[in-house]
């Protein structure tokens, strides 16, 4: 039953099925499974059905329709939509309704996509487990006692459990790739600046990137193609033409070199190491050259990230002050403006968000700026230089997405230990390059088999090559696997 967005799109266009039937079936699966999985916070049933009917009429009338016509897409709830709410899974934005659509929403709907609903995340995208969501934990469909990863856990679960044709996530330090890996689906973080951030609620502005979470690499390529490109409303969007990645996707990549960082081999579970080893054998058989590469600052990446990201977050989240939008305290004790800010923020933000705001404020404060923030930015340059040197020797870097498969809900209580899960993903964002997580087998040692992901990273703006290599791997694997769910 391997089906992806491209297949659904083709079936709707050739009238093997209808957009309405697709939406109805998806909504029925959501009704059955979402109460347990908690992937979605909000579902736009009526609007989705109306959109589907309109597209079906256009197709029946022989009108030309967009390349995503009729496919239902789930949106991470930190991307603003005029329809419904945008909460960032935070109490501080519980009732927030955006007066505008994000650029990615404009581009998807112009291509005919149907916005199906908003998915849960770790509050303000700060987390790796989706346990820090104000609307309850999200559960991994492969084993509901396990986390789905985070922060785009709701989107990854919606795809894994087939509760949408595809989903959008955002990735600041691994938040697309890690949950995709733990849920057995494809998660693609494009190069920084490739996709407009206009309408993505800012967390770490120099790190944040929107990207697709999908059933297949060809779906990821198609959605990327629809969304990528300059945007006058985001001055950090790259002013650079977007190559056609869709029509070249099936080409077998010409001779290419796969780099294996020697630092990516310690501390992984046996199943993760085995998945990487299988991928190495596959690429060898394809004729790729395998080279060892050296990324000595891999470990230092976490420390660098946990200075830069909280620093940017403490500044970005200053806008949530209870004045223009969001939660305002009802406490009579808040007599002046300072009390109003401090009390509203303390009531609205959860513990992890407060921890990161405090950390970011500390590293930016007088006396500590040079020792922490400035130094982290210098090391950021070193990490970038390290990648540049590595990409002299190889075209893609292969390694695990995460050191282990999904951990148990409630099983990781130490914040620092949780941060370490992102050791293979944060440096992609620090350097601003691109990366993709692909389903690569299962960890069979746990009670229920759990998906394991591999990650391919490539130089900034090397998406066409990265996607071709990823697609070649995917073709050899066959389609993705599906967890057993409640039948409709």
């Amino acid at each position: 039953m391997s089906i992806d967005l491209v297949q659904i799109r083709n079936d709707i266009r050739t009238r093997k099925t209808t957009a309405r039937a697709t939406v109805d079936q998806t909504l029925a699966r959501i009704a059955k499974n979402n109460p347990q999985l908690n992937a979605y916070h909000e579902i736009f049933d009526d609007q989705a059905r109306n959109d589907a009917d309109r597209i079906d009429q256009e197709i029946a009338a022989g009108k030309s329709v967009g390349i995503l016509a009729g496919v239902p897409i789930a949106i991470k709830d930190n991307i603003v939509t005029r329809i419904g709410h945008t909460t960032c899974s935070s109490r501080i934005l519980e009732n927030y309704r955006s007066p505008f659509d994000a650029t990615v929403i404009d581009r998807l709907t112009q291509a005919g996509a149907i916005i199906l609903g908003k998915t849960n995340l770790d509050e303000f995208a700060m987390g790796s487990s989706c346990e820090k969501c104000a609307w309850g934990v999200v559960r991994n469909p492969w084993d509901i006692t396990r986390v789905p990863g985070g922060s785009s856990g709701g989107s990854a679960v919606a795809v894994a459990a087939n509760l949408c044709a595809a989903a959008l996530g955002s990735d600041t330090g691994g938040s697309i790739r890690q949950p995709a890996g733990l849920c057995g689906v494809v998660g693609f973080k494009p190069t920084y600046g490739r996709i407009s951030r206009y309408g993505l609620v800012a967390f770490g502005s120099s790190l944040d990137q929107i990207g697709p979470i999908t059933h297949s690499v060809r779906d990821a390529a198609l959605l990327y193609q629809c969304m990528a490109g300059d945007d006058p409303r985001d001055s950090t969007c790259a002013p650079r033409a977007v190559e056609d990645v869709v029509t070249t996707l099936e080409e077998t990549p010409r001779t290419f070199r796969v780099g294996l960082p020697i630092q990516y081999r310690k501390g992984n579970s046996a199943a993760v190491d085995a998945a990487v080893a299988r991928a190495v054998e596959f690429f060898k058989a394809m004729g790729a050259t395998i080279v060892d590469i050296d990324l000595p600052l891999t470990d230092v990446g976490i420390s660098t990230y946990y200075v830069i990201a909280p620093a940017e977050a403490s500044s970005n989240l200053a806008r949530f002050d209870g004045i223009r939008y969001g939660h305002r305290t009802k406490s009579k004790a808040a007599k002046d403006l300072f009390d109003l800010y401090a009390q509203s923020r303390a009531e609205g933000f959860g513990p992890e968000v407060q921890r990161r705001i405090m950390l970011g404020t500390y590293v930016l404060s007088a006396g500590y700026y040079d020792a922490y923030y400035r130094r982290a930015l210098q090391i950021r340059r070193l990490i970038k230089q390290e990648f540049d040197a590595a990409f002299e020797k190889c075209d893609v870097i292969l390694g695990p997405t995460s050191p282990t498969a999904a951990f148990s809900i409630g099983g990781m209580t130490d914040p620092l230990a949780m941060y370490m899960c992102d050791v293979y993903t944060v440096n992609t964002n620090i350097a601003g390059i691109c990366g993709i997580s692909l389903p690569a087998g299962f960890d069979e040692t746990s009670q229920m088999p759990l998906p394991v992901g591999i990650q391919l990273q490539a130089q900034a703006f090397a998406e066409p090559m990265l996607l071709k290599v990823a697609r070649a791997f995917e073709r050899a694997q066959g389609g993705r696997a599906y967890p057993e769910l409640k039948k409709v």
Binding site: P99, L297, V300, Y325, L337, D339, R345, T361, G432
Partner: protein, 104 residues
């Protein structure tokens, strides 16, 4: 480790909370102190990296100022923007008295 940061005091935590505009109740200060100390202890590894002569990198793209064309456009309707405001008076956002400055 010699490059461990100086211990964070409860007073430091209170000061950072004030800068961050977060009302942290007395009983939660110690838990913030514990967590922040642990994270800063880990981050101390940054001090062991040689960064002599390196230009800080604030951003992955080397973009300079980008200028847009100067085209008049309509702004969002005031009613749409005020819809999310917690307190409104007429076409204005309502706030507590501001004169007298922020208290400490």
């Amino acid at each position: 480790m010699s490059d461990q940061p100086a211990p964070l005091t409860i007073e430091d935590v209170r000061h950072v909370a004030k800068l961050a505009r977060l009302a942290v109740p007395q009983e939660r200060l110690a838990s913030f102190q514990h967590d922040l100390q642990a994270i800063l202890g880990h981050i101390a590894q940054l001090q062991s990296v040689n960064t002599d002569g390196l230009e800080p990198m604030a951003h992955p793209l080397t973009l300079t100022n980008r200028l847009g064309d100067d085209i008049p456009q309509s702004s969002m309707p005031i009613a749409d923007l005020l819809r999310n405001a917690p307190a409104v008076e007429g076409d204005f956002l309502a706030v507590p008295k501001v004169l007298g400055g922020e208290s400490s």
